[in-house]
Each structure stands twice: as C-alpha cells, then as structure tokens.
Symmetry: D2
C-alpha cells in the first residue's frame, strides 16, 4: 500500500507517538512531577506534530514534506528533554524520538 521508504517513516512516527503518549502519562505519575513538567509539555507537542505528519504522509499530501521539517525539530527537542531523565519511559521516548527524526530526515533529502 505504501512504498517502503515512506512506510518506515510511518512506522517510526507511530512508535514515537506511542512513546510520547506513554511518557507523558508516566511522568504525571512520578513522585517528582514538577521536575517532569517540561518533559510532559514536549511529549504533548511531539505526539501531536507526529500525528499530523503521519496523517499527511499516509494520504500522500504535498504538505507532508513540509511537516517533516517541523517534525524533525520537535522530535529533537523532545529527545533532548527526555534524555535528561533516568526513568525508563523517558529513555525509551528519547530513543523513539531520535529514530523518528532520523527516519524523517531520510526522506527529506
């Protein structure tokens, strides 16, 4: 249905959305929520930007390519923030964001 280079971007976006939604919820349940406030905020934005990017790419929209650039930036911001925290959900999210940024970059050239 979707050709392979785009397909792996779609899957990386899916993983990133799952990781961000899970990380935000888990951060809200941590003992020190205050320390996680910025992480929750970047998770929210990253999940939403990835969601639109995935949608536009899946439908073959001309605007999908434009969103990719913004998506890469948001993923990198989120990866940087998440990687500061020791929690497993933060480390996993940082990794998913980094892979997603990389996957997006691979189709923007």
């Amino acid at each position: 249905m979707h050709n392979s280079p785009i397909r792996s971007v779609l899957d990386a976006l899916h993983e990133c959305i799952l990781a961000c939604e899970h990380c935000a919820t888990s951060c809200l349940q941590e003992e020190d929520v205050k320390m996680m406030a910025r992480c929750i905020q970047t998770d929210r934005d990253c999940a939403d930007v990835c969601r639109l990017t995935l949608t536009l790419l899946a439908r073959g929209s001309a605007h999908g390519k434009h969103l990719l650039r913004e998506c890469i930036e948001v993923c990198e911001v989120c990866a940087t923030e998440c990687s500061k925290h020791e929690h497993a959900h933060c480390q996993q999210c940082a990794e998913a964001c980094r892979r997603c940024a990389e996957a997006c970059r691979s189709v923007t050239v």
Copy 2:
C-alpha cells in the same frame, strides 16, 4: 453554513478545547504540579475527545451523534476535577466543560 443548534455546540466545543489546552499548560507551570496531575490528565483527554466530536459534527457525520455521549461524560469528569482547584484557569476550564456538556446534551435528545 451550519444550522444554529449545531452551531452553538460547535462553538461550545471550541471554547472547551481552548480552556482545556490552556489549563493543562498552566497546571504544568504551577508551584505544586503534583496536585494538578489528575487535572492535566483529564484536560488532555477532554481536549482530544472534544476535538473529534467537533470534527465529526462539523462534517455532518452519522458518528458525531455517538461521540456526543462520550463527550458529555468526559466533559463532566473534567469539570468535576477542575472545579476542585482554586486557580483561575481551572475554574474557567470547569465552566467551559460544564457549558460544553450542556450544549452537547441539548442536541442528543
């Protein structure tokens, strides 16, 4: 474009989304974020459920009516949670959620 009973539901949903997004962000900046964790969580869900309800109603989808019921419930849960907190953003959000639930209820009968 949209006839008037639905139009006021669409506007109430818009207000509710704005209030929930703003409340979540403001809660994350409060001194005692931990106390706001449940509020942030219900704001997130309420904004997203309202967003889909608005979308389906705006396009005249048969599924819009089904979402209304769930939307009313989520708005009431969010209103109850927000009304527990003194912050202006929480009180305003509780009010927007209550009005949204009421507007949704007015078109479900």
Copy 3:
C-alpha cells in the same frame, strides 16, 4: 512499553489509519469518483475515530475503553462500504478495518 494485548490493538489501529487515508486519496483519483463518495466519507470518519482511539489507549486513558466500542462500529461500517468496490486500495482497506475491529473487540471483553 505497552503490554502485548494492547500493543496489537495499537498496531491494528495504525494499519487501519494508513489504509483509510490511502484509500480516501486513491478514491479521489479514480475515474468514477461519484461512485466512491460514500467510501471516501467512511474512510475519513474511520481514520479520525481510530486516531483518537489509538491516542487514548496509548496514554492509558480510562476513556480509551469507551472509544473502542465506537471504533469497532465505525470500522465495520467502513469495511462493509470498502468491500463493495473492486479497487485494490478498497479491498485492502476493508481488510485492515476488519482486522482492526477484531483487535478492538479482543480487548473489550
């Protein structure tokens, strides 16, 4: 990150979203678009309802379970409509919708 029964629902929702977005775009490029109008409409609704269901389940929201019921219904409506058309994208979408409904049903009991 997400435990396995939910994980397969999340993946089935992802496949269903991809299939619906792709089917809607492809229908719009068919010779006889008029015949595809209902298919495009159900694809739009199905993609959006699956998107919210995926979001709520990924974040472990209490409202995710409620959306599952609506999601099953929308997926079945979309599968029925898509299966009426010979186009490969319609047949693939019907299949993805059926699998998604089944996956959602497996976690609602």
Copy 4:
C-alpha cells in the same frame, strides 16, 4: 484566558476548520464529484493543519509559531482551489481560508 491577538487567530482557525469540513462533505454530495476531487483533498489537508495549529497556539507551545507559516500556505492553496467553484460551500470556504491566512499572518510578524 487567551489574549486578544491570539484569540482572533484561534477563532479564525475554528471558522476555517468548520468551513473545510463542511465543504468536503458537501463536495462529496455534488452531482459532479470528479470536478471537486482537488477541492476535497485541499479541504482535508487544510482542516487538519488548522487543527494542529489551533491546538499548539491554544496551549502556548513554542511550536505554534512554526506551524503558522505552514498553515498560511495551506489556507492559501485551499482558498485558491475553493474559489474556482461556484457552490456556496466552496465560496464560503475560500473566504474562511483567506481570513484565516490573514489572521495567522497578523501574528507572525
């Protein structure tokens, strides 16, 4: 809750989303759907891009400003396409898209 320059952008985005969703549905019910295929496609993209822009601005996200640029472009593409068709829903949508692009532009400088 939201200060006035941003508030009018949020409302213009809301109007634009309503107009795009309504226009897409109405186009699908026109006699000559084939002639409306591009209009439906731009309506879909415009509604989704406006939806994310509205979400990010409502939550005061740093990424809201970035989306504005993309949003202006998508609104202009959609306005141009819609203005080619005589249908009332297309003319109204073209107008809503133009006003939305203008509102977005007013806060990007």
